[in-house]
């Protein structure tokens, strides 16, 4: 696509099942677009250089650092942010597990970690602690020492294995709303 810096680009995409059509500057980051143009401030920005993971959202089902891509690169995409995790007023099992396991303190890193964990659970049927820690190594949390976070993700994985996860917020069903692209 060819656009000039000062031109505005008409961007169409879906966020949390809602359609958005907005005029954006081509240089605008997806993170800024979500926060400023969509008003979805649950996606946080901690470094803007791809290390802290706070800005992670799902783009077509994949966990992506929204500070590393431009909004216009998400043309036509189906995006899920932390605001879209609960379904029909019921929290996602990861949201509950994070509270039960005291996996958050200030909560600034939490939205990004939740989104990565959603994708991770979708792609890992029976993860062990080490795999969970590996997945989390793309995120910085300076509050918790990560212990509760590993436990929370493990808890959801274990419960899912035991068939305990309720239909409403099933980590698989939340992602199956989106269609993976190549």
């Amino acid at each position: 696509m060819q656009v000039k810096r000062e031109e505005r680009y008409s961007l169409r995409l879906q966020v949390n099942g809602k359609r958005y059509e907005e005029q954006v500057e081509p240089r605008k980051l997806l993170s800024d677009f979500l926060r400023e143009d969509c008003g979805l401030t649950g996606t946080h920005v901690g470094c803007e250089h791809g290390v802290c993971g706070a800005c992670t959202v799902l783009v077509d089902g994949r966990a992506v650092r929204s500070c590393l891509i431009l909004a216009i690169q998400a043309e036509g995409a189906d995006i899920t942010t932390v605001e879209g995790l609960a379904k029909d007023g019921k929290p996602h099992p990861l949201q509950e597990a994070f509270s039960e396991c005291h996996a958050l303190q200030c909560g600034f890193c939490t939205p990004g970690i939740l989104m990565s964990s959603v994708e991770f659970l979708q792609t890992h049927a029976d993860p062990g602690k080490e795999e969970i820690a590996d997945m989390l190594s793309g995120h910085l949390c300076r509050c918790t020492g990560y212990k509760g976070i590993v436990e929370a993700v493990q808890q959801v994985a274990d419960r899912r294995k035991e068939g305990e996860v309720r239909e409403s917020g099933d980590p698989v069903s939340i992602c199956s709303r989106t269609t993976p692209t190549v």
């Binding site: 240089r27 901690g46 932390v82 958050l104 995120h139 910085l140 918790t144």
Partner: protein, 808 residues
Amino acid sequence: METKQIGKPMKRVEDARLTSGQGSFIEDMNPLPHIHHAAILRSPYPHARIKAIRTQVAEEMPGVKGVVTGQDVAACTNPFPVGVTASVHYYSLAVDKVRYVGEPVAVVVAKNRYLAEDALEKIEVEYEPLPAVVEIEQALLPDSPLLHEQVGSNIANHRHFSYGDPDKAFREADVVIKHKFAFPKYSATPVETYGVIASYQSSDDSLTIWSNFHGPFTLQSVMAAALRIDSNRLRILIPKDVGGSYGIKSGVYPYMVLMGVVSKKLGLPVKWIEDRQEHLMASSSGTDRVTWIEAAVKRDGTVTGLRMKMVDSVGAYVRAPEPACLYRTHSNTTGAYRIEHLQMETIAVMTNKSPTGLIRGYGGQQLYFPLERIMQMVATKLGLDPAEVLRINLLGKEEFPYQTPSGGIYDSGDYKSAFDKLIGMVGYEEFRQRQKEARSKGKLLGIGLACIVEPSGSNMGYITVALTPEERSKSLPKSGCAEGATVSIDPMGGISVRISTAPTGQGHETVAAQIVGEVLGVDPCTVKVVAEMDTLTSPWSVASGSYSSRFAPIGSSAVYQAAGKVREKLLRIAADQLGCSPDQLEMKGGKVALRNDPAKQVSLRRLVGSAHWNPQGLPAGTEPGIHETAFYTIPTAQPPDEQDRVNGSAAYGFVADAVVVEVDAATGDVKILNYCTVHDAGVLLNPLIADGQIMGGLAHGLGGALYEELAYDKNGQFLSGSFMDYLCPTATEMPPVTIGHIESPSPLTPLGAKGLGEGNTMSAPVVIANAVADALAEWDVTVDTLPLSPNRVWSWIQQSKKKKEEYA
């Protein structure tokens, strides 16, 4: 419903909003229309004279509303006040000179941040570079370049202290062990950076500032003084959610002042959100410190005296509350040990690095690194086991309350039981066996121990020991650690609590709800806690805020007392209605009933209703409404005495750590195999939150031990400007951690609680260093600086190998 709430691992009331993206952090807030965005131009030089700043091109760019420079700031603000006598002029923008890489030089305001950053590139600044001072010892040299010519040296503060008879202790010592230790400069890098929204209103010359600041609110007066504004015209509001701080965000206050000036000059509300690079190079950090330590020791390992010379680098400006890092642990300089003779020299120097300030553990990691290293070196020198040396020196349970030579009053403790528990937990004896076997196979295993006292709830008076008794006597003495809280009940029975502890993730809303729930006999989930601090409407005092682990000993006590006042009032009304005396009544399950005749009862709602809807029916002399505020301080938080003794904290907890490491001699890599930690923080108010705080503090200490450093080259150029260069521990770096507790309730706080959450930040750097030293025992290596990066450890091993070969 159970009546006991305090001490339960209740899930946090903060979590629902934070896990669903409904938190409100500073960047999420748009409290006013037409907010414009600020971007800051910063110095690329460590030390340079500013010859000229040209802003015209920038000012004419699209969307730009104006530019503010140091001249504007100097014209309408005063330098920030600070508690030392050296005359250092610190402003929120550089005036005439820049003194560190990243120092703010100009501010651009534009319609959005993208445009503001575009304009930054068009500002031209002419600099004349000057030689920089980087190292602490270099700053002390008489011919060192000067940062602040009018001070005459780079020394911002210098004091000598002597307690007991240190000369005698050293004369009578069997051995004296001494060494020099260097502690590095590092931060805590909260994932949310600094943010400020400022709005000036000319009609009444007032400023409203929103920021993720968390106190200490002594700094409100510092800001008001800098802004030349009456303190009640400087309204500071803290958002409900602050994305972590660990002390670092108290350093946002110069930017609050700066944005106040910018808003006033440009006549617009402005918002500034710091980016990560700015945060790393210029926000705040712990101090780097060089310590020369000497221990006077008896042959059995008893340490009888200490001499310490501690030199902190506070960066380019001594900025309040610095030089407090030097004095925060003054009362507990002798740690967990019975050491009666102490001599200290404390110096704060200014160097061409970013200014320092509060950080989790404040002063503790800098103190315990040399202290606990020297304890291990005592054992090595005398051929004793370090566990024996610690045990022989630890204070006994019967010695509490214990007064330290420098004036600390350790309120309670059972250090030896905690230590024994630790030794059992880590399997110390078995490990020594395992270590021998590993060594025979060429594997380097080591175990480190550390015992530390964790002070909490700082006494406002401690920082005044930076001044001599004569200097102190010229102004009002400072003492106490006052904090306030309000509990009120609305006409329909809804309970709300207002606190001024400015939490940054520690779960104060939850714990306050637990306390009020227990005192008033209601479900804590029905209690609404408002933690958004507002200096015009919240109950606060100078000590308010979130620092020095003061919520458990102090903040929670204020909540407890305010709830107690409400309870007392409700009982008085109930007694009147039930025709009995208040002490015959009990309050639980939303009711007040006669203890001996529970059928005689009245609901809380009805009692509250009486206070609001029918004040005429209240017992004589009772005010209408239910709204009670309490302020709490601790009587032992006295000002320093003539001999410079001061009890710097409300309560003193204890932490004992044992760490097992394996060092790879070929690469220098340090792997932590096991981390055990035993805490005594008195009564735990919420064990779930307590363990979370411990883990977080430990991860931070581990980062300091192994990874984190704000590094500068020898010319003062900054080297750690991104998260690619400044390494924070991630989940894969966390070792297995076992946490143990014992509880020696504080006799001083109403709930018996002491602060916690900073202990392992203080202990982890040294306990890991001790473990590495133990692993490298066969090499001639003294672990005397951090972080223990593979490169550093490998170089030590190489040097020692070389020495051995040369010797052979």
